[in-house]
């Protein structure tokens, strides 16, 4: 099977007249015009202009590893093999999983053996455990590849990410305040520019967020180094290096495209889902619980 990054290089080569040759990002650059280098328009402060509403076009939020389409996220044994679990069977095709080549470089996540067992157990208990089901804050990097857009607000003084999902926000600090005093859901983001790449180190995240709906998880030792590199008009490459020695045998990397939404699409709306999960979380505590 074609490796995702090679596929990406081909895709970019075919679709963009001016193509990035960031060697770290697009390593197989044979069909990329040698020497061509995308120069992103300058934004406030003289750095590349990242302002706008961005979103992925992939299925990583279902499963960050390569995966064929499957009938559901939760199953139970059936007479001829697994069938969708009772709780989700009514969703039919809407509850099924779209396929994806994944965003994990190299294809699979280097779990420690005991962590891999936890991942599988998470997957089997997805309905009870996925923090997205409860509308919990998504953490980083998951926030960036959920099927909701987010907006970057960039000035010469500040850089803020506002996510449609759950109204999550991240303020990127450009002066390192030292270790976060306490763990949080979205962590502490400290950024700097390396040429035209925005590099953000995210620390201080708690152990309660996941990477996707397939039980991929991390511990509170998680450290994420994100790289945002403009590749073309309205296109960024997003890479996140994941380091968590309590869960993984070595650091690993995910990468994907971020697309800027244009025109009337370029507006994030409100998806404050807390109220949408009240029946799930508190329904049994009603004065008269529904049957």
């Amino acid at each position: 099977m074609m490796k995702p990054r090679i596929a990406l290089a081909i895709l970019i080569g075919l679709t963009l007249p001016v193509t990035a040759t960031h060697s770290k990002t697009v390593s197989a650059g044979k069909n990329v015009a040698a020497g061509a280098h995308y120069v992103a328009p300058r934004g406030p402060g003289g750095h590349p202009d990242l302002n706008g509403v961005w979103q992925v076009m992939n299925t990583a939020n279902w499963d960050i590893e390569p995966h064929p389409a499957r009938a559901a996220l939760a199953f139970r044994p059936g007479p001829f093999g697994p069938v969708p679990a009772k709780e989700v069977v009514a969703l039919g095709a809407v509850g099924s999983v779209p396929p994806g080549l994944g965003i994990v470089e190299g294809g699979s996540i280097p779990y420690k053996p005991e962590a891999l067992a936890t991942k599988k157990d998470n997957e089997a208990h997805w309905l009870e455990r996925d923090p997205e089901i409860k509308c919990y804050l998504p953490g980083v990097p998951r926030a960036n590849y959920m099927p909701y857009p987010f907006q970057i607000f960039q000035s010469d003084k500040a850089l803020l990410f506002a996510y449609e999902y759950a109204g999550a926000v991240r303020n990127i600090q450009f002066k390192d305040p030292g270790p976060a005093p306490v763990d949080s859901w979205m962590g502490q983001s400290v950024g700097h520019w390396e040429g035209d790449t925005l590099v953000v180190k995210v620390t201080g995240q708690n152990d309660s967020t996941w990477f996707d709906r397939s039980g991929n998880f991390h511990s509170a030792s998680l450290e994420v180094v994100e790289r945002y590199t403009p590749l073309g008009p309205g296109l960024m490459r997003y890479e996140a290096q994941i380091t968590d020695p309590d869960t993984f045998t070595r650091p690993w990397k995910m990468s994907m495209n971020l697309y800027r939404l244009e025109g009337t699409d370029a507006q994030i709306l409100q998806f404050k889902c807390v109220e949408f999960v009240e029946e799930l979380l508190y329904g049994r505590l009603r004065k008269e619980p529904l049957p």
Binding site: P44, G45, N51, K134, C135, Y136, L137, Q151, I152, F153, Q154, S155, D156, K157, A158, L159, L160, A162, G167, A168, V169, N171, Q173, P177, P181, V182, S184, W185, M186, S208, Q267, I268, L269, Q270, K272, V274, E275, E278, L281, Y282, L285, R286, K287, E288
Partner: protein
């Protein structure tokens, strides 16, 4: 005589020059908008409405000092260590709320135009929300369930439910409450975004834009804005009907969902924004009403206020009510 007249003229001219030069020139962003960016707080002893023991909008420094000292003493009293020998409160007794350690309500009255203010509301002159009869009825109808009804999550307050911060901290109008009175303003071309600490809400103000369709009524309404000179003018409509009643210990507010709220942000010093608001709705109020709040620069960073993720309170409030209902003495239904 001529000399004297001249000198008067000179002094007058000097004053005029000083007056013309004194208006603060707000810094500009690199894209040319007046720069409101930074971290700001509206923590204060001053409240939305005037307390009953004060009769005037402006109070003297002496009166302010006395009230601020009383406020401080009260907080110090509440901050005393808990007496370990006191034992648990008797059944049915109020165990009390936070001690002062958890509060950050400010220690000073707000000062606007050099005046020490007893209320944020400046119009009407009595410092109170000018509810009409209908407005009063709607207030009671909206408020009572939050205090007396525990039948399900939907009847509890938005603060308890972790949907938005309590007491209109996120606005509009953005009012000071007992804690987490912090705001971060970030600007980019075409946008002014106000991150409200409680609950990590980004109010995204779209400049020179159109309102959402009428059936879209987000929490905190839909805000569009434009610049009038150095002032950011934000107009909010499409308010969420479920956000119509909000309360802090020090204020209660019924905000009719049909209101138009106009907020004005003017940077008047490096460390101060004058925040002004006006609420217009002809049926709930007898007149438009408006107020002024100083927002002061504050030090960061602003930390994450995650509420829902650790919301044990709502579960316990509902579970407690179910437990109460099991007791025959409390007139329970089970």
């Amino acid at each position: 005589m001529i000399v004297r007249a001249l000198s008067i003229a000179f002094v007058a001219a000097a004053i005029a020059t000083a007056a013309a030069a004194s208006p603060y020139k707000a810094p500009r962003t690199s894209f040319g908008d007046p720069d409101l960016q930074g971290l700001w707080t509206n923590a204060s002893v001053t409240t939305l409405e005037r307390p009953p023991y004060i009769k005037t909008l402006v109070i003297s420094p002496d009166v302010a000092a006395k009230l601020e000292a009383a406020n401080k003493a009260q907080l110090a009293e509440n901050d005393k260590p808990t007496d370990p020998g006191k034992g648990a409160p008797a059944e049915g007794d109020d165990p009390g709320g936070y001690n002062s350690f958890w509060l950050d309500l400010g220690s000073k009255f707000g000062v606007v135009n050099g005046e020490i203010r007893s209320s944020w509301i400046t119009d009407p002159a009595d410092g109170h929300v000018p509810y009409s009869e209908k407005g009063r009825r709607d207030t009671m109808a909206s408020a009572i369930p939050q205090f007396r009804n525990f039948d399900g999550p939907e009847v509890r307050s938005l603060g308890e439910r972790c949907i938005v911060g309590y007491g209109s901290t996120g606005g509009p109008p953005m009012l000071n409450v007992l804690y987490n009175n912090n705001y971060q303003i970030v600007q980019s071309p075409g946008f002014v975004t106000i991150v409200v600490e409680m609950n990590h809400d980004a109010r995204i103000v779209r400049l020179n834009a159109q309102h959402l369709p009428a059936n879209m009524r987000p929490w905190m309404g839909d805000s569009i804005g434009h610049w009038e000179g150095n002032t950011l003018v934000v107009e909010t409509t499409n308010l969420n009907p479920n956000q119509r009643f909000t309360a802090d210990i020090r204020h209660r507010l019924y905000l009719s969902p049909d209101s138009k709220v106009t907020e004005r942000f003017t940077r008047i010093a490096n460390d101060q924004i004058l925040y002004e608001f006006k609420v217009e709705e002809p049926t709930a109020y007898t007149q438009p009403w408006s107020g002024q709040i100083p927002m002061h620069a504050t030090k960061g960073p602003m930390y994450e206020y995650a509420c829902h993720e650790g919301n044990y309170a709502l579960k316990d409030i509902l579970a407690g009510a179910r437990q109460e209902e099991k007791k025959p003495a409390s007139g329970g239904t089970k």
